[in-house]
């Protein structure tokens, strides 16, 4: 009998009904109510930075990035710091995003795989795969692509 692979992941809530998952090792830290610095001449989805251990990290607003109509002002209360590599032989990078709630630790198994719905096509370019959680398709997102020039140039 084939063994079902189960992996640990983080379920991220970006607000405005947008949820996605990343690998457990891909979330580095959560910062509560950090000081953000606005940078001029930047896109609306990424106009702030955070100072973290001497590094200046971009902070993405996922709902704005995916062109969702905001129903509320983005709160700075919860910022997630993710870690990613665009290539296994390249250095790691850090990037941040606004979160509406604290990430949830979940377990995802292969037999929960499902397709994204038609209403979730905004995730298509970023999703490595997706799984079903509580009858909702959750994309597992490619962080390296999320923070890559190629993705943002194609928007």
């Amino acid at each position: 009998m084939e063994e079902t692979k189960t992996s640990r992941a983080w379920l991220l809530d970006f607000g405005e009904g947008l949820q996605a998952a990343v690998g457990h090792h891909e979330m580095w830290q959560i910062i509560i109510s950090p000081t953000l610095f606005n940078i001029p001449c930047t896109p609306p989805c990424c106009s702030n930075v955070l100072i973290f251990q001497g590094n200046i990290l971009p902070v993405l607003d996922i709902p704005i990035l995916l062109e969702r109509e905001p129903t509320s002002v983005t709160s700075n209360k919860i910022i997630g710091i993710a870690v990613y590599q665009d290539d296994p032989n390249h250095p790691i990078h850090y990037g941040c995003f606004h979160l509406a709630t604290m990430p949830q630790n979940i377990y995802v198994s292969d037999d929960e795989a499902c397709e994204l719905s038609a209403q979730q096509r905004h995730w298509k370019a970023l999703a490595l795969s997706s799984f079903c959680l509580n009858d909702v398709a959750i994309p597992i997102i490619n962080l390296a692509y999320l923070f890559a020039a190629e993705f943002h140039n194609n928007l």
């Binding site: 001449c41 930075v49 001497g54 923070f147």
Partner: protein, 145 residues
């Protein structure tokens, strides 16, 4: 050999750094002839230059008049130097001050942005711009004005 000297200017709480070798000179605001035109707030006519002078706000938009706190202007090197006003000016060596330039994250780039790098300075974020990029940005802001 890398040049670590930068001119750091402050306006409306915004730190802007330009490589020293790309700045023609630092002048006082009193030498600006107020003449708002085409996005510029006036002209600087000293040292054989006829230089347009601009005021940028905290968000790098153009101001149509010179705020009271502006005391200086820096002239950016160009065929015809261009002036940007500021509240304060400082001459800093980023190596001696242990300041580290970090490239502007790719997700923060826009085609018009003059900002190439960022650094942590005085517990704030300084925007590092090359003179040519700033002048191109000012031209972009003033096109069709």
């Amino acid at each position: 050999m890398t040049d670590f000297w930068y001119i750091s200017v402050v306006f409306d709480g915004r730190y802007l750094l330009v490589p020293q070798n790309e700045v023609e000179s630092v002048e006082i605001i009193a030498d600006v002839q107020i003449q708002p035109e085409g996005g510029a707030v006036g002209w600087f006519f000293e040292h054989g230059f006829e230089s347009k002078v601009f005021c940028l706000s905290h968000d790098f938009s153009l101001l149509s008049s010179i705020p009271e706190k502006r005391e200086y202007l820096i002239l950016l090197k160009n065929k015809q130097p261009v002036g940007i006003t500021c509240d304060e000016v400082e001459h800093i060596n980023i190596q001696q001050e242990h300041l580290y330039l970090q490239d502007l994250p790719v997700v923060m780039k826009t085609p018009q942005s003059p900002i190439s790098q960022l650094l942590i300075y005085q517990e704030k974020i300084g925007c590092v711009c090359r003179s040519a990029a700033l002048i191109k940005y000012l031209n972009y802001l003033t096109t069709d004005k």
